[in-house]
Symmetry: C2
């Protein structure tokens, strides 16, 4: 995940070095406090700002105006790369819009989600971004009060602004990918405590296979309990390939990359070649895959684009409008 | 990173189901509001709490008492698994101590670190956890004001409470590991914009090799610019193995697992077998390694233990004491 070097990355220190003044002086001048500096210094700093393309950060200015410009993101698992990608993208988009994002880890638990919703309310945040939210009493209360809340990746059953992908279509794309490679009986694994989004992925996969002529009872499915998709992937794959279940399928959809990593570990332990013997398909296309998991095929979700859409939804809510869902395009690289 | 199912994971909903009452009723009773419930209901809920080992979360209670119990963590890269591990562990330890943690991504930039320090100050947070901080004007100001700040992973040059590992010794352990396997001329790669912690790892590695009889000019070193350790690892490895530099070493220390992932990608592209041809050693021991990077040897850092130590340091600071550094034990699995 290399970040492009852009004008946004020119720091105050770079401007200060270019202008031959202190960072504090640059900071004051770009924030409009020019009284303490000579006209010559102001001009030198402004020239350096233009030459380097420095973009002052509006957060500090907003805060000095004593506006609360804070948005809270509540996410279930900070150690999942997909969550991290959503957090990074949203933080950047909010910062560009002049907001500070603060991030809370709910561990996928309704009670912690409620604690953080209450905590953030007491911090007077201006909006909420709930990634893979669960239903909870404080969430219902917040929605009833009309708080600006954007749901990401998992729709709220009670409605609300949404940013995500078409999970059903993503599952269908995995089915098409298998059939195009003459894998006519691919299998699927998923968490037993599935969310609406994982359920939609499984349904999309199975329904597309059936529509394209695969008999329903030939589509093997397995699940396992737990919150760690790594372990769930391992355990569900083990259940799937147990002798009575018929061994390794030629293609296996795992409803997240983390689940695919778990299935991969089992394959390595069993000496099963991935992807030669079993084509593993994940969903997420974690950036790490290109570096250390080139054996994984994965439905690409444009997480770096999520942030701007989240801000778009929040802006609509702040303007008093309940916006339509935003579905971002997934793709399965050939 | 599977989380153990423990008493801490029993939810309000579980207690409610066990007691046969609503979640709202359980929430009120465990928070001491017993007036609206019958004595029988209170007893039933309390029995369920004991039977299930439910641990009420103190954050909500603290907030209802209108105390600000918020601690801010500023970290450079949320998409680095090591950062995520530190954030997860610290959030859990703070929550157990009755605090809410909010997390800000500084992108390793002094100006963003300053923006977030100022933003969090305006939120009246009770303390700061700075992971791999950089020097910055607002940080100096905060230290001068005596704000409670704990530095993690990277010491502040101007001093302050610290939690981390002995980076010098971690580098030395990698040297010993190579020599024990008759790899007498291992190499090392590191980021050109190195921090004090990466510099200490390199120095510990090189100095131990020299002490144990390796000639200094036989220890090949390479670096590359950039902020993404993945790309830095790839680029630095490429520089290291360029024809004029002498090809692939039998052992290669990468100062982070992310750098090792980068070097691995180059090895795969070049058809170099890892670890058979080149033993790759990282530092971090990311939990993902066991699942998808079994080819990587890595110095283990006990990130799950960091959180409790961070809270210990904060507690000392809140008590008016500047605590000694806490160094957690690293280990290199055999």
């Amino acid at each position: 995940m290399q970040r492009p070097v852009s004008a946004a990355q020119v720091s105050l220190a770079t401007v200060a070095a270019e202008a031959g003044v202190s960072v504090a002086t640059v900071s004051r001048i770009v924030n409009g406090e020019t009284r303490r500096a000579s006209a010559q210094t102001v001009m030198r700093v402004q020239a350096a700002v233009v030459a380097l393309g420095y973009q002052p950060n509006h957060v500090g200015r907003a805060l000095r105006r004593r506006q609360s410009r804070v948005v809270a993101m509540l996410a279930p698992n900070l150690d999942n790369p997909a969550m991290a990608a959503i957090a990074v993208s949203t933080e950047a988009a909010l910062r560009a819009a002049g907001y500070v994002m603060i991030l809370c880890d709910t561990h996928d638990r309704a009670d912690l989600q409620d604690e953080y919703l209450q905590a953030m309310r007491s911090q007077l945040v201006q909006g909420y971004v709930l990634v893979s939210a669960v239903t909870s009493p404080a969430l219902s209360d917040a929605l009833a009060r009309g708080e600006p809340i954007v749901f990401v990746s998992r729709r709220n059953p009670e409605g609300g602004a949404y940013v995500g992908i078409d999970n059903h279509a993503a599952g269908a794309a995995a089915a098409d990918y298998c059939l195009a490679r003459s894998i006519t009986e691919p299998a699927v694994i998923f968490p037993a405590q599935g969310s609406s989004s994982t359920a939609a992925r499984v349904a999309g996969f199975v329904e597309r296979l059936i529509v394209r002529g695969v008999e329903a009872d030939r589509i093997r499915r397995a699940s396992a309990p737990g919150l760690s998709h790594l372990q769930v992937g391992y355990d569900a794959a083990r259940a799937l390939v147990a002798a009575s279940a018929g061994g390794w399928p030629k293609g296996l959809l795992c409803v997240s990359d983390m689940m695919a990593y778990g299935a991969y570990r089992l394959a390595v332990e069993r000496g099963v070649a991935i992807p030669e013997t079993c084509l593993l398909i994940g969903i997420d296309a974690n950036p790490l895959n290109a570096w250390i998991a080139p054996w994984l095929t994965s439905v690409h979700i444009p997480y770096p684009d999520f942030g701007a859409k989240v801000v778009e939804q929040l802006t609509a809510l702040w303007g008093g409008t309940m916006p339509d869902d935003i579905l971002l395009p997934h793709s399965l690289e050939p």
